[in-house]
Symmetry: C2
Subunit: 203 residues, 2 copies
Amino acid sequence: MTASATEARPLTPAARRVLDVAGQLFYTRGINTVGMELLAEEAGVTKKTIYDRFGSKQDLVVAYLRARDERWQDCLDRHVAVAGTPRARVLATFDALYAWMDGENPRGCAMVNAYAELSDPDHPGREVAVGQKLRLRALLADLVEQAGAAAPGRLAEALAMLHEGAVVACSVLGDTDATRTARDAAETLMGAHGIAAEAPSQV
Amino acid sequence: MTASATEARPLTPAARRVLDVAGQLFYTRGINTVGMELLAEEAGVTKKTIYDRFGSKQDLVVAYLRARDERWQDCLDRHVAVAGTPRARVLATFDALYAWMDGENPRGCAMVNAYAELSDPDHPGREVAVGQKLRLRALLADLVEQAGAAAPGRLAEALAMLHEGAVVACSVLGDTDATRTARDAAETLMGAHGIAAEAPSQV
DNA sequence: AGCGGCGTATACCGGTTGGTATAGTCACCG
DNA sequence: CGGTGACTATACCAACCGGTATACGCCGCT
């Protein structure tokens, strides 16, 4: 038995190293172009160890995506938590994105990239990617509903698109203002949906 | 000499077949996972022929991206041309996207995917991708400026992000309404920038 | 004292990668 | 008639791929 996918046991030191290296190499060079041999070498570990801990490359890829997703989620939660009103929380998701892009995300969304690289529709890594997208949408829909939006689903979807677009603009085009632009647009969209800046007592 | 990158001579029948097959396989299965052997077999052609016509895999990838970019541009031009006002033309770009997604783009933006797969920063395919993104932004900026937007650059950038986000939503999440949602959001954004539906005589 | 989990080292497997070499066929064209 | 461009067929190359096998060392736990 080679460590089932869904358990979260503490990870051995060598496994940690492998996962860290995978997090860097898979992201920066692409999943398909990074071989297990290189991974092992870079982590100071033998291939045997990798296969003992993770089972297969496919499973390691899933672990990599899960770990990255978790880090992004932490970043998101941290920024959303400090904001007060639902409206401010929505805008905080763009601040989280800004922080995320500035350092951890120079090569675009890892989930979208993985989706592109893993052409097999049955690859378990795919549902990690769609899970992340759905979670953001659910969060946004929840927030704008709290803020009193008329059609929370549609607005949340549009806001999520701004997120996605900002990532592409920032990584592919190097537009460092992208998240700012997206945030401004989000403010505009919310305003048009009846979510105003201040003075909520405007019945 | 193996056919320089920028010339556009008619393409031999075999080369056409290769480029068509590459257009399908590279997009649906990913660039790195499709080998020249498979490509040759599928096109009913020898590897020798491919290398005689295209020089290298890298060059073939560039040709593939160029051809796809051109097809999208045609789709875009077609939809924009029939629209009247600048505002309608902006919205027409989303109609173009809808038509494009419905049939030619089930696996997301080929340019973004290629950007993810080609990790080498010097790969010539990359500038094809950024070129496409810049061209859309230039078009949008031009249109919203004609429509009298206050800050054409920022608005165009936000609209482009909606494009990008719609593609991801549609391909990864299977949201068939994505382009519609993006179009509606675009209308809202333009409205907030002083580009109204009708009655332009509103000095 | 002993055992099992963790790790190293090395070698190997069949298959595939991008790319090249050699030899030959066919059709068109001056 | 001869030449040339387009193409096929086959074989080959070194390098790398994911994955497995064998054998051994270390350390903490009971």
